[in-house]
Assembly symmetry: C2
Amino acid sequence: MAKSDPTTPRERYRTQVRAEVMERAWEQIATAGASALSLNAIAKQMGMSGPALYRYFANRDELITELVREAYRSLADTLAAAAADGAGLAALARTLRTWALADPQRYLLVYGTPIPGYRAPEDTTAISREIAGTLLDACAAALPPNTPATPLSTHLAAHRTWAATHPAPPEALALFLTLWTRLHGVLSLELAGHFTGMRFAPETLFEAELTALLP
Amino acid sequence: MAKSDPTTPRERYRTQVRAEVMERAWEQIATAGASALSLNAIAKQMGMSGPALYRYFANRDELITELVREAYRSLADTLAAAAADGAGLAALARTLRTWALADPQRYLLVYGTPIPGYRAPEDTTAISREIAGTLLDACAAALPPNTPATPLSTHLAAHRTWAATHPAPPEALALFLTLWTRLHGVLSLELAGHFTGMRFAPETLFEAELTALLP
DNA sequence: TCACGTTCGTTATATGCTCTAACTCCATCG
DNA sequence: CGATGGAGTTAGAGCATATAACGAACGTGA
């Protein structure tokens, strides 16, 4: 894309190596999960010796943080692109599902079981808010007029610091939270393999949740 | 409870050591997550040297499997006890939430991100079906008469091998799946800390999901 | 053109983990 | 009472993260 940055050759080499490391890391994560990610194995795959990678990532956690950041960024961009294409709330939801199924471990890296004690850096929460913003816009647009207040929406009207800057009404916040948690419920159980024993199509359940929420 | 089994003293000692190992394992998991569980650290805590524990567990995976089994067993018993006390579907759902909040890592060990390649042993899936059975009973009982068929319920009518032995109608199966995924959606995001930034009460969302599903 | 300093990659090392092997010791059982 | 088998030990292989110290390559500036 940007072919001539004012960067030195060394910097460009550096970012390229970092990119290759992350690429291999994604492969490892896709096949063995995030907990099995090994800097050493990546280095050997790249023909380098183990400690060399510590020039590029301070430690294993920083690499994982970078992967989380990339995953968040990818999801935020995917949803934003769909929204820019005029996708409504249902289309955004299906975009989310497609994104999750394309790389289950990437979804689980972001929304799965966290490592206790791991503190997400500030900018990833910013991207998370960006994702929520895109969905919130669609929720506000999809909200039928004269939607009645519910206990949840009145509670959120009093606790909306997380959406303080967003002009959506409390009922849209309630719709967003409900949609988010329901989609995540289906997706996470599906990706975790908890449906594999029972031979039904998770997509049917996903669509049922959509039509239940967006009549 | 059963104070005089026809077991040898050696066997009783063995089961007692196993129990203590698992107790320490739960402590470790609660504070550092399942991926940080260390047989070595447990052995040192118990005043033994590392390899001693391999007399009691073939390997780390077997210990984790045993923990998963115990967690499943605990949940199944808790729900069964509540159901035996006459708890309806809403009460069972709240029982599930209480159980999950009592030990978040225990819930996530069972329903969180799985380790790719890990194959759950047969009897844990049996307990899982037992849990589903308890909830299915309550779903069948809570189902309003003349509940209309939906695309989901008709799909499940044709794909109900997982509930082949259960007499619940397809609409009850649909209710079960919907309830399960919605509750899991709220619980898993709450336990994973994805709500901590936004200062609202997850319980309100949980209750909203309950009233939306059980009018 | 050439010397200098930054950066990169190496090996060596400390530490911790899982897990196997070989050995000792003691309780239990016939 | 003695043989057996289970329990615990240390030693060690193999792999991981991570640091330290060293050598080589590279780009820059005189």
